[in-house]
Symmetry: C2
Subunit: 397 residues, 2 copies
């Protein structure tokens, strides 16, 4: 990992953030501003600025040259700030309604200034609180279809696509996913983090050569399949939402990868929330999963029929082949995400907040079983309705 810390780079302070906002005339000259660093992430400073009188606000995000979670010893390229801002602008071309407005970017200082979304709630938190977020999956289905189709060789001319691929070569952030999603959880690696009671289940995963062969193939796809510009980290913690609105944030992991990865990560995080609930409250999540896929497939098909630039899109059966390959890969990627969120370095609150402890352990065992079965049954699952069956099956295992 290389952290090319530009000589012009310095970390913003709260007063520096206010000065920058004023210099850029993002507020009235004499406005009275408050500023709070609200970053709960591991990689960035996030300042929230508000005008005390009008209440209007903006967010100033600055990438740090290291990962806070592990300390300064884990350097991370500041280039991810450029990647994130460029991805937000690119996604904004296709679905401005689902990404924050970008007000200013500075690649040297690794700063992006954007719309304040604090009227909304992080989707993970809302789902943990039992909220329905009724439009979440419809919006994300459309976000996925449009951002992925129009950056793929189906919907973008192949010359422009290759220039974009070059702009979004993102080795440092991809490496995090390669290690933490696709590798470490499947081997006895220091970065793993799980309760001792899960030991036998974890050991079973590490011994399961058939499972690991499928993970190897999925990792290879993540490494080599430059199909479309992915968000790259599309879990429910990267989404702001309420009953009416949805905004996808934090695409610093963006790169050209397999379409199924974004879909699989999102579905996996819905499943993780589902299994954290009592059975009678899970249905809304399964409906979200079905809607995500159905809206994705419908919108992708519409774009394919209306805007495809690739002449082979007219060939009988090609669309069906592409959609079924995407679905199959999404299932496998979802399985990897569920496993790594249970025993890998980065957990999810959906599972970790389960009380009492015994119930948490049982739920995590279900998660591991579900993740493994999804990975091993990619070819047997052909409809989004089947995810529910696999959860039921995992509960009884």
């Amino acid at each position: 990992m290389s952290a090319k810390k530009s000589s012009l780079y310095e970390s913003l302070t709260e007063s520096g953030a206010i000065a920058l906002a004023k210099r850029l005339q993002l507020f009235e000259e004499n406005s009275n501003l408050t500023c709070n660093e609200i970053g709960d992430g591991n990689l960035n400073l996030v300042f929230k600025l508000n005008d005390i009188e009008t209440g209007e606000g903006i967010i100033i995000k600055q990438a740090l040259p290291y990962a806070k979670v592990i300390g300064e010893s884990y350097p991370l390229t500041l280039d991810r700030s450029r990647i994130e801002a460029t991805a937000l602008l690119k996604q904004g071309e296709f679905v401005p309604q689902y990404v924050p407005k970008i007000l200013y970017t500075d690649d040297q200082l690794a700063i992006t200034i954007m719309e304040d979304l604090s009227r909304l709630q992080i989707a993970r938190t809302a789902l943990i609180e039992g909220k329905d977020l009724p439009l979440l999956s419809k919006h994300i289905g459309e976000f996925l279809a449009k951002t992925l189709f129009y950056t793929s060789d189906y919907g973008l001319n192949q010359h422009s696509k290759k220039s974009l691929v070059k702009q979004f070569i993102n080795p440092d952030l991809c490496k995090i996913t390669e290690d933490l999603v696709f590798t470490d959880p499947f081997f006895n690696h220091d970065s793993n983090d799980y309760e001792p009671e899960l030991g036998p289940d974890v050991e079973r995963i590490w011994q399961d050569q058939a499972l690991k062969l499928e993970v190897a193939k999925l990792k290879q796809k993540f490494l080599t399949k430059a199909e479309a510009l992915l968000h790259g980290d599309l879990h429910t913690g990267s989404i702001f939402a309420d009953d009416k609105e949805t905004k996808v944030i934090d695409p610093e992991f963006a790169y050209f990868g397999p379409i199924g990865f974004d879909i699989g990560q999102f579905i996996a995080n819905l499943l993780l929330n589902a299994i954290s609930r009592d059975t009678e409250n899970q249905e809304v999540l399964y409906t979200h999963i079905e809607t995500t896929w159905n809206v994705f497939a419908k919108e992708f098909t519409t774009a394919w029929k209306k805007d495809a630039l690739e002449i082979f899109t007219k060939v009988d059966g090609y669309l069906e082949h592409v959609l079924s390959e995407i679905f199959e890969e999404a299932i496998g990627f979802a399985g990897c995400e569920i496993i790594r969120r249970t025993i890998g370095l980065a957990h999810v609150a959906d599972l970790d907040s389960i009380q009492p402890y015994e119930k948490r352990i049982v739920t995590k065992q279900i998660a591991l079983s579900l993740g493994s079965e999804l990975i091993k049954n990619q070819k047997n699952i052909t409809k989004p309705e089947q995810f529910k069956e696999y959860v039921k099956q995992a509960v009884t295992l």
Copy 2:
């Protein structure tokens, strides 16, 4: 297509080539040099310089900012000169014995100076003349295994691989392959070029939706599967050889693509030569095909076991999966290459030089049938020995 013609660029003349060689001290100061432009390609000037007294020679290759075959109206980026030189140097790290020595490069002038290989013969010409080139397939099998393994995520650390991917983004040259290999021959396109007697066979290809669906999938792999640094144009006209030595030249189409593409193109060109011969003289080509794959698989396996950096390479069955996927894709790519060399823009002398005319037409019909069957039977061919059967079958169709 963009041809960024640098302000420093100018085409070399024969006297300019001599002056350059002297300035670079590639010959003794007072040596008496001859210089001939010997380029028979469509895209470059190629000067052969020789010292009259010692006989020693060098090649100065300069990319032209347009494709000569179609005239100045088809501009081509000079960046392909950088791509070619960088690819030759990279391949030279793994198999110096199979690529020409590079003496000098100038990206601005799009010039590469390299070892003169005129002691050898272009493999296509030698094969058309009925020569055996006994070591050709052993050498190419090793060339393929080493250049592809050590530039893939299996044998190269994933950070370096991504930097290489970026260096080898090659939109203009990839576009030629995308159009001329994977698209135009399968549709009624102006660039196609075939004898009127082939009309019904060509029409049958254009109507064959099952065939075109497979070609669509192969084209998608060419567009998206960034598996290893390909040569990108590995036909028998890109190889110099004699009974003892083999040198692969002209990697200006190099980019990160599916490993099976290089293998498939080479095998296709051996098959095109085979079907141009009488049955009793074909065996040597089938042996070359088997040797190519067997040496490739053996050397790839050796490198995998010795030098793999990817931890999943230790997982049971992964190597076998990777090899069988490469083989399957190679068959499909070989089928596309055979069809496009028969009815597309760029033909091969193996077919075009067949006399009399009627025999040429029959052979081209066999080629079209063979190409189609390979594409449709990718999953049914599991051993290189089976290519021979498919030729026999194509002859009787």
